[in-house]
Each structure stands twice: as structure tokens, then as C-alpha cells.
Amino acid sequence: MSPQERLNAGLAQIPYVRFLGMRAELAGDEMTAILPFSEHLVGNPVIPALHGGVVGAFLEMTALAQLFVSQTQRRQPKTIDVTIEYLRPARAQTTFARAHLRRIGRRIANVQVEAWQDRRGSPVAALHGHFLLRSAEG
């Protein structure tokens, strides 16, 4: 199974990922998560803009997907905490995100994620969080 196939299969196992309509593409070891726009993701129909919770959830799932890509022997990590910074309204269009694993410890991973729409240099939101890594046995 190629890394991309393994990632697709991992994401397909999570019902909530399907609910969001999120997918992810690998270019070598670099992963880009993609959230196509869908009407049901809207939080503010006046602008319209994606729900802040959806943006946060997409960032968190991107962090978990990146950990899944790089931690092949582990179970799904548990989120310990996340801080989400909202920079611009996420408009009714496709959103992208990339995660940076700042530190992978024995038990804890520190991860940063940034999401953007038109221009990567103008992110719509950023996340930093801590995730508890779990061994395959435990």
C-alpha cells in the first residue's frame, strides 16, 4: 500500500472526516489537507463564512492526519489541547491546511497547523496543539 493509499484508508475510517468532506494529498512526505466548500459547513449565512468550529475541526483533523502519516506504528493520538487563532473569515470556497510537527516526544507531540484559501501567505486560521501519542499495544 502506498503512503497515499494508507492515508486515504485511514481518513475513510473516520465517519466525521466524511461528514466534513475532507481529504488529504501527499507530495512525498508533505501533506496538504483539503476541505472543499459545502453548504452544510456554513456558520454565518450572511457573509457567507464557514463555521468557526468547522475551521477548528479541520485544523485539528489535519494535525491528526499528519501524525498518522509520520507515526506509522501508532494508534490514533488523543488531542490534549488546541488553541485556534482566527485570522480572516473562511469564505465559501475550498480551504487548505498544512501541519508542521514541531516536536515529537516519546509521549507528546507539539503540532502547528495553518489553513488558507486563496493565498498561503494570507492564512484564515492557525492552530497549535498538544497530542498524546499512544503505542500500538497500549
Binding site: Q13, I14, P15, Y16, R18, F19, L20, E39, H40, L41, V42, G43, N44, P45, V46, I47, L50, H51, G52, G53, V54, G56, A57, F58, E60, M61, R75, Q76, K78, T79, I80, D81, V82, T83, I84, E85, Y86, P89
Partner: protein, 159 residues
Amino acid sequence: MTDAILDAAELGREMMRRTPQSAALGFEYVAAPEPDVGAMKAPFRDDLVGDPVGQVIAGGVITTLLDHTCGLAISLALRAQEAPGAEAAARMGAMATLDFRIDYMRPARPRSDVIGRAHCYRITRSVAFVRAVAFEDDPADPIATAQAAFAINRAGAGA
């Protein structure tokens, strides 16, 4: 007192109806212990599972629940202020999340509904500070707690 509670119920239901994402998640209004507390329920659904092994509702659903509940709490805080324009500002779209921190104390119980409660403990002319908690049946045994700051756009005033 009764009026305030009815207001909260009406406001909560209106916010859920007008927000496609909360309708898609099936959020329900639930009564809060105090008139200035916003409360909502995320009913468990198979398509919202984040950990298929544990059959636990996804963290992202809890994020959205708490964010949405914070919005309700701010609307209640704005309504409680007599200032003209508070009514209009209380509507959705008049506030934007600045930052949102969530701590996950423990996983939600398998196949369990989750309730979110939020309280806007401080509101200035342009910023609202909110705390929120997610739990199944006992707020003293939280699944997650959140702390957030929102920018407020009052009607007829600059940010």
C-alpha cells in the same frame, strides 16, 4: 426571570435554525441553569464519530458545539445590556471568534450525547470573553473546557 429564560430559548433556537452547520450537526437547544448561560446539546450520531474504535463523538463536533454555545452566551450578554442596538448586535454575524482554546480532559463516553454550556463573563465595547464546558450529564466531570475571546461589532458603532 421567566422572560429571560424564554428569551434564551428563543434566541438559541433561532441561532440553530439560521446556521447551516449547527442544523447539519443536529444541535438542540437545552435549558441552562442560569439565564446568562448558553446551553446546547450535540446528539450522538454514527456519522459524527471521530474514533471508530471507541465509538466516540469527534473532537471537532465538540469544538463546534462549544464555539456555537459561546456565540449564544454572547448574544445573551448583549441582550442583557439595555444599550440601543444591542438587539441587532445580538444577531449572528455581529461577532467573530478571535481565539479559542480547548482542553480535552477525557474522551466522551461511547455513543453519548454531549452538552455544551458557555458563560460570557466579561464583555467590553468590542471584545467578549467566554468560558465553556462540555459534558454528558455532570458539568463537574467535563469532557472538555474552553476559553475564548470574540470581537464584537455593535450595530451603528465601529469595532
